[in-house]
């Protein structure tokens, strides 16, 4: 009997506390704070360090300056990790709670939450006179509105170590321009006991870069890839998936570092700076860091060697990479927009470049700030007329489950290119059935609506 009483009391307490909790949550949502741009507590989920080493410190300093100038604004930065960047925000969007400002990779990772109503267009809060100075806005434009703010431009150049080239009897001042030259150089380097090309792919991002940098080269336009995503073109066509054979060949011939499958993408970047590999690729920020380690005269920088024969084979790979957007549930969208605009002020842009060596995505950034010879070369590459980053056009679920996983399978030697193509097809089919809403929105987007 006593047990029954105890259980009854416990049950009543549980129900009562649940009711109190629910009531307090409800009152919190109904009492939405006034959106005063100069009086707000903002939470910013931030990611950029991997693209641009030094970014976290830069933001910390900018926040301190901003808070000093706006004493009633408090900004909490929550740095995000690369492997959970998309999934963490997907979860936040499902529960409609989380940051006021979030970072995401451009295009689909940014537009998908927008399609689902989890974000607000930044162009509703920032005047056009301001955002028309931002570069690469086309990557995040939908229905005539801009959904996110670009902060920086990331070009992906190819790099080689001149000393190691010389050691292998290669011309240190001539990097490979075509895939055939790349393979010939790799052969000579390997013969001298030098690891030709270095990257990390434990987390799949090395393979995803291979897809974006090499895989796109047989396409004439990114619209072809979009069609393959919705089944209007066949991904099994070598035009889309032939690059996997090139990656498998590199692995088979021993042209990749032997630990490619067991080190992370970011660990892979360190190999070039440590002189452990002769060739690699990286972001403008990585190149800047390598230049400090190796010295400008010891490294060469150029566009990625040409592998394919499509019109995109000669395009350069530059994107805003990640961007910042305002969430739908934020009580302070104006305050968030005002802070993001502050990050494009001349002092912030100058400080960004000084901290990271990465070019800001803003037309007002004076090229005269760029004095370093390698940086000048990178800026010239970043200003190439055609630029595209195909991974941005792959639905995030397919990107994670097929693009990343497929590359891992190739670099670990555990699957053939044809098996990876089947994985892509299976994941595309899963995406359609599991997210009919997202698939429908994507189709509309492809058709220009």
């Amino acid at each position: 009997m006593a047990t029954k009483h105890v259980l009854a009391v416990l049950g009543a307490a549980l129900v009562a506390s649940a009711a109190v909790f629910a009531a307090s949550a409800a009152s919190k949502t109904t009492k939405k704070a006034a959106d005063d741009p100069n009086n707000a507590n903002l939470t910013y989920w931030y990611w950029a360090e991997s693209d641009a080493p030094g970014a976290n410190n830069w933001l910390k300093k900018e926040v301190a300056q901003y808070e000093k100038a706006h004493p009633k604004v408090k900004i909490s930065i929550v740095t995000q990790s690369t492997d959970t960047l998309t999934s963490a925000f997907t979860t936040a969007a499902q529960t409609k709670s989380g940051p006021d400002i979030a970072t995401q990779w451009a295009t689909l990772p940014t537009l998908t939450p927008a399609w689902k109503g989890a974000t607000v267009p930044i162009s509703d809060y920032v005047p056009k006179s301001e955002w028309q100075n931002w570069i690469s806005t086309a990557e995040n434009t939908w229905q005539g509105k801009l959904w996110a703010m670009p902060q920086y431009l990331i070009g992906i150049p190819f790099v080689w170590n001149k000393q190691l080239f010389k050691k292998a009897g290669l011309d240190p001042n001539k990097g490979p321009k075509t895939w055939a030259e790349f393979l010939a150089d790799a052969k000579k380097l390997k013969a001298k006991g030098i690891t030709p090309f270095g990257m990390g792919n434990k987390d799949g991002y090395g393979g995803a870069w291979f897809f974006s940098l090499i895989g796109k080269q047989n396409l004439d336009s990114i619209d072809e890839l979009k069609k393959a995503m919705i089944g209007e073109a066949n991904f099994a066509d070598p035009k889309f998936s032939g690059f996997y054979q090139a990656l498998a060949d590199l692995k088979k011939k021993g042209y990749l570092n032997s630990d490619v499958a067991s080190i992370s993408f970011e660990q892979g970047f360190q190999l070039f700076g440590q002189k452990k590999v002769a060739m690699s690729w990286g972001t403008d920020g990585n190149v800047s860091a390598w230049e400090k380690q190796l010295g400008a005269k010891n490294m060469g920088v150029a566009a990625i060697p040409q592998w394919g024969h499509g019109k995109l084979a000669t395009s350069y790979d530059v994107t805003q990479s990640s961007d910042a957007f305002i969430t739908k549930w934020s009580s302070h969208p104006r305050a968030a927009a005002q802070f993001l605009t502050f990050l494009h002020t001349p002092q912030a842009l100058k400080a960004w470049y000084a901290a990271t060596g990465v070019f800001p995505a803003d037309r007002r950034f004076p090229a005269s700030q760029v004095k370093d010879p390698i940086a000048k070369q990178l800026l010239k590459l970043d200003q190439s007329p055609v630029s595209v980053w195909p991974e941005n056009f792959v639905p995030p679920q397919v990107d994670q489950n097929a693009d990343l996983a497929g590359g891992e399978e190739i670099t670990s030697g555990s699957a053939s290119p044809s098996a990876v193509v089947k994985l892509w097809q299976s994941e595309l089919s899963k995406w359609k059935s599991q997210h009919p809403d997202e698939y429908g929105a994507y189709k509309k987007w492809v058709s220009g609506h």
Binding site: T84, T86, S87, G204, D259, A261, Q397, S414, Q434, H435
Partner: protein, 269 residues
């Protein structure tokens, strides 16, 4: 009780029959999520990996029991040995996973040590090989969980009345006879209980190890059901995640029911 335990279960069961955007307009899909999961090779790989990890249970229990029996002989420094063996169990799985992810890399500490000791032939790509990745996870699970088994078995052995063992010794029982015919049978219920706990652990508590050590890779080579659930949920495929959660719950329930049935049979006998 119904609110705390029943509600989440009912909610997960309900979600397993829907697809699409759960925050606005989920779409009723009947058993499609279950059908999709069963026909998904990634799910089958994940399930098979959970089964492979179950092989670690007898190793874990056998080793744990053997160490506990040796320590039960009141060997010198027994407490210290027990503390050392138990230490990994109290360390966070995440920290251990990170440490081992560096240790087990192709050019990591373990392989470097093997190469330095002229045992380079034994050096493997422990995390980057699709054949070895799940075995590496299993080894880590054994390494961490071993201490728990040792402590539980030691406690059970210490709680046994000393008279039985003493009588066996007087009757001339050898060390092996004493352990295997006198002591071990007396702690059989504990062994059974720990078996069930460890089976449930490797079935539904290995996410931390897998996520930190291999992220389920290369590809899906070391994926497990929990990771499949997490991946589905993080992709916004809540219905699929819920369907697998229901299946995992069902499997764990069957195992628990089976263990209860075995115990009841043993008591009846």
């Amino acid at each position: 009780m119904a609110f705390a335990f029943g509600f989440p279960l009912v909610q997960v069961l309900r979600d397993s029959f829907y697809a699409g955007d759960f925050t606005t307009s989920p779409i009723w899909v009947g058993f499609d999520n279950y059908k999709g999961v069963v026909s998904d090779p990634e799910f089958r790989t994940s399930l098979f990996n959970n089964l492979k990890l179950m092989l670690s249970v007898p190793i874990m229990l056998g080793l744990g029991l053997a160490i506990a029996l040796v320590l039960n002989d009141r060997i010198r420094g027994m407490r210290h040995y027990r503390a050392i063996i138990f230490l990994p169990y109290v360390l966070p799985a995440t920290a251990i996973g990170i440490a081992f992810s560096f240790l087990l890399q192709e050019k990591g500490v373990l392989n470097t040590a093997l190469r330095d000791a002229h045992l380079g032939a034994l050096a493997q790509d422990w995390l980057g090989s699709s054949h070895l990745a799940i075995a590496s996870v299993g080894a880590l699970v054994i390494w961490q969980q071993l201490g728990f088994g040792v402590v539980v078995f030691t406690a059970a052995l210490l709680a046994l009345p000393p008279e039985t063992a003493e009588a066996a010794r007087i009757d001339g029982a050898s060390w092996w006879q004493l352990q295997l015919r006198v002591l071990v049978p007396q702690i059989r219920p504990i062994i059974e209980l720990l078996t069930v706990i460890q089976v449930i652990t490797v079935l539904s508590w290995v996410f931390n190890y897998v996520y930190v050590l291999t992220t389920g890779g290369p590809g899906y080579a070391s994926s497990v059901m929990e990771l499949y659930i997490w991946r589905s949920f993080s992709n916004g495929s809540n219905g699929t995640a819920a369907a697998v959660a229901v299946m995992l719950f069902g499997m764990a329930s069957v195992l628990i029911a089976l263990s209860l049935w075995i115990r009841r049979q043993a008591f009846a006998a």
